[in-house]
Amino acid sequence: MDDLISEFLTETAESLDVIDSELVRFENNPEDRAILDNIFRLLHTVKGTCGFLGLPRLEAVAHAGETLLGKFRDGELKVSPPMVTLVLQAIDQIKELLESLEATGQEPAGDDAALISRLEDAAMGKLEGAEQEAPAKPDNWDEDLGRELRPGEVSLADLEAAFQSADIDPGMEPAAAEAAPSEPVEHLGVGDFDPELGRELRPGEVSAAELEAAFQNTEAEAAVAPEQPVAVKSDFITEDMSQEEALQSAMAELKGGTEGNHGEGGPRVQQTVRVGVDVLEALMTTVSELVLTRNQLMQTVRGLEDDELKGPLQRLSAVTGELQDGVMKTRMQPIGDAWRKLPRIIRDVSTDLGKKIELVMEGQDTELDRQVLELIKDPLTHMVRNSADHGLEMPAERAAAGKSEKGTIKLSAYHEGGHIIISIADDGKGLDTQRIGEKALEKGLTTHDELERMTEAQIHRFIFAPGFSTAAKVTNLSGRGVGMDVVRTNIEQIGGVVDVSSTAGRGSHFSIKIPLTLAIVSALIVGCDEERFAIPQLAVRELVRVGAGSEHSVENLQGAQVMRLRDRLMPIIDLHNVLGVGEATQTGDDQAAFVVVLDAGGRNVGLVVDNVLDTEEIVVKPLSESLRNVQAYSGATILGDGSVIMILDPNGLAGEIISAMEEDVVIEGQSASVTELDQQTQRLLLVRAGGEEPKAVPLALVTRLEEFDLTALENTNGRRVVQYRGRLMPIVPLGADVVEREGQRQPVLVFAENHTSIGLAVDEIVDVVEERVDLQMSSDKQGVIGSAIIKGKATDVVDIAWYLDQSRAGDIQRRSSSRRRKVLLVDADAFARRMIAPLLAAAGYDVTPSGGMHEVKAIAEAGEQFDALVGDPSALDRIRKDGLWTNLPALAVTDWPEDTQAEGLTMVLPRSDRGALIAALDEVSQEEKVA
């Protein structure tokens, strides 16, 4: 029985879908008898089937709906929107019941008395608001039928006359059925008790007594029929008896015949076969395999002069092509399948909002891959709903604008190349450019300046920006938090593109372009360290040549690789690094490389590869289970020459940026500890500030680089300040000779500490270098730690701490040290090491960073001596417990100084206060020496 229920669910769901859209069609064409018959029949079948499965609730609702429809069919009631709404409600109720039937395997408890009684009332013509007045009787009004005669119909009176005059063959009288209401049969409502059955009559049942009466009546009438049924029956029995043996002997034949019947007896059923999707998928994979093997073969044979092989191969090739086409077709579904629910949705919108909407659909038969179809179903529905809700105006508004009251939404689909284009056009008011612009500003998506320069079309595209929704009023239908950005994301996920064009007052037009299938894609083949990789063409925005002779180069910014492209910084991933092969392409040096600009979830990301080879149509093959968690790949494919290559996943690669950076940090930390006692390298920002000679600032200390208009600089309390992120930031020139030049933008290094920011004004930002800082000369000059050779030039290393103190007017006198003191920095967090090490180095300490206990032990075994230990509390605690350097001061640096046990530690300092750390370190190391 379970089997039957599931069969019932599928069958009924299909029927209901058809009813939904047919009813809407019917509402618009109430005179179309064929539509009504179809709806009636489908609902009737649903009801009939319910009876077999013992589903009384469903049956009762279906019956009530059918009764109402019956009244339309018999012309007793006029079709009106509220009536159709009522029937649709009944359909919805049935759907709900079906859902719970599907979930639980049985009908839910409760009853639908309210709905049923409304349906019944409507059937009796008692619907509130329904048009009650009888229409004026036209010429062809038939009194017997109580309605207007349909084209081609004859009146009952005429029929009677015909009966009288003609030899009656009841079988030839189609109109007789309609004339038959003259039969004396009473309509019985639900719940009538039938004494013979001993139970209440089911909906639609007639009592046996009445049936018999009718039967008698008919037999009497039927006696005029040429063939007497009674006689036939008795003949039949005897005949049947005698034939039985013959039938028995002809059994085998009969069976064969029956099977034949079965096969051809149901051509319409047999034309479609239900096949599991997995079967089709498997078939597709196999065919792809075949295509690849064919390509391989073709390539092998191309070089040979073997005519014997070429003929058959040609045939194989052609057949394979046909097979591929055929299998692709099995995956194809008409787009109309995705549109089926739309008429109903539009109808609901129009009734809810009081709009008049006509939905025109074109190209329903356009086919596309079912996988793609599934994925665009929801975005499409959303967009159509949007058009109806926001795009089209109220009838009055339309009339005022000189348009017809009824708005039109036109859906169309057609093929173009390997794509399918779906367009959704409405003749509504169009997009509100101003409103969108305002909203974009509000959401911080753009600036006033940018907005002014934008074309209307560019502004319209903001509706696809994340989190954008212009609906001033959240209606029942839209504004549920799902905006066009979700639509765009969904469409882009399958390699599609969505765009909008709109003319104020004339309507808007959305067009979606999606690939026909996801199984075969066009790909760019790139080379990296002797390996080839495929990148889906859809994700490739452009190709940029970097390195030798190119204006573009990959730069290093705080450990992250970036490229400047049209005045924008774009993060760069080096495929070598991601894969861990070969040497990473060096920064802007003589070696040429290509940067593939990828679209990773709307952002541009550059991918450095060695070579760009080819474009090719590839068959996407899923990755095996064991490789599936490697983010960088989305699949694999086999090229014509038989080699297997991996397909890169742009989104996965973008994710690699973060992990690559982290890795980078770890590697650097390690390399620093390997070359431990040497001065490790520092990233330095070279600037020019007063005079030609460069000055160096440890990059890790710089929070941000900014440029300000001179007009933005203000004077307050004798200081230069600028309004920065809602606060006042003091601007201190880096050296007295920094000049503010009129009409130019002032480059400023921003340092943030303890929620306050300080800006150091410089003349020019020159470069970022990575060098070891070996202070050759210490300096007594304020604000300079000393001088070092950087890039072959004597460079002053700026004492940032001094400037910070200066700007705070907290003038702490710092002692310049005559001796470089050594500090062991222990922190498991590589980032923390990177933050603290340059600070200490800049303050004149030799820093030995180490990441963990094993490194620390190795350093201890090497017999190294230090002046102080700096690090995270737990690491220092371990060192103390292990009895290493017990005599040294240990300064703990932590984000949570309050929660840290100070036991055994010389001092606990907040990580954020670098000045305090330096001061404390100066103090303790000095004390230690003195002592």
Partner: protein, 124 residues
């Protein structure tokens, strides 16, 4: 073994009917509408037809009329199934040449008794 043609546009009902018919030791052939059923009859005239009323393409009524005009089309016992509460339908079907009627939902007992009444099977 006798053959019974089940004509109904619902797969579920055909399935139910098939079960009943096969329990009565009939060979069961299915058709989804009147015109399919007619084709099936032209190939092999069944002994009985269990016929639905409301079907797409060709409804039950048209089918009976067409069947009775076929050669040998007068032999099958046509049992007409209906949920229609309208007596006119039943009357009309019987007039058109159906031998018996059953109300949906039917079950094994109902079909068996109808088949007995029409002499398709012997009363047990």
């Amino acid at each position: 073994m006798k053959t019974c043609l089940v004509v109904d546009d619902s797969r579920v009902i055909r399935k139910v009917a098939r079960k009943i018919i096969e329990e009565l030791e009939f060979n069961c052939v299915e058709a989804a509408d009147g015109s399919e059923a007619l084709e099936a009859c032209r190939k092999q005239m069944p002994d009985a037809v269990l016929l639905d009323w409301n079907m797409p393409v060709m409804n039950g009524l048209d089918f009976v009329k067409a069947l009775r005009r076929e050669e040998g089309g007068d032999t099958p016992v046509v049992v007409f199934c209906t949920t229609e509460n309208d007596m006119a339908h039943i009357t009309e079907a019987l007039r058109a040449g159906a031998d018996e009627y059953v109300m949906k939902p039917f079950d094994g007992d109902i079909i068996e008794s109808k088949f007995q009444q029409t002499g398709l099977i012997r009363a047990s």
